[in-house]
Amino acid sequence: MSAILPPESRVWWKQPVDRVEGMWIALALIWSLIMFFMMPYWHVFGKQNLSNEAYRTTPEAFSAKAQAMVDQYTVRTETEQKIPVVRPPAGSDVYLISRLWQWWPILELEAGKSYRLHLTSMDYLHSFSLQPENLNLQVIPGYEGVVTITPTRAGKYSVVCNEYCGLGHHTMVSSLYVVNK
């Protein structure tokens, strides 16, 4: 008689489906398929997709590449800790280290140009949260993720860490500059 009792008759599979249910199932199925195909569609026609490029890495190997970039392209330093601000050429590989509780170095990019951004962590998990754009990428120690980014507008941005990474998590924030040529 009800949902807390066994179905009234032995065979319930053959009960005809009500019109309300039938129409709703059809609508819901169509919507489900639309949502599903939006994702591959965006891979082909959209401009915001993650590459599937990633490598296994070590803190030493990654630091060496970041250091080489810093040595070559530093334009100034900021804060008492003298964190280098690097301005790598458009189209190049840029390396951003995350560690307790700092992003290193500070990047200065050109609007409208693309860069291959490499991200890893030296210790715990961190997460790259670009504000106020609100773009968020997980950063995992031992793995180097690569994504090509194309800043749209010039301005001063911030990189917040939004993966809990211990007691200083809420102090892990850095700047990122986008300039016009």
């Binding site: 032995r10 065979v11 599979w13 490598y55 296994r56 793995y143 180097e144």
Partner: protein, 53 residues
């Protein structure tokens, strides 16, 4: 099952109803699906990530 005093022989149970009435078959399906598609496939992707140059 008590087929009381029905004159006709009991109606055959449709296949889908049989499946839905079998908790251990469902348990198998419910464990196998995510194990294969989520865990096994996912772990395979992770172990095949190449080493950085």
């Amino acid at each position: 099952m008590s087929n009381t005093n029905e004159a006709t022989p009991p109606e055959r149970i449709p296949v889908m109803q049989h499946i839905l009435d079998n908790p251990f078959l469902l348990l198998f399906l419910g464990v196998a699906m995510p194990t294969v598609f989520y865990i096994v496939w996912g772990v395979m992707e992770i172990v095949t990530i190449p080493v950085a140059k």
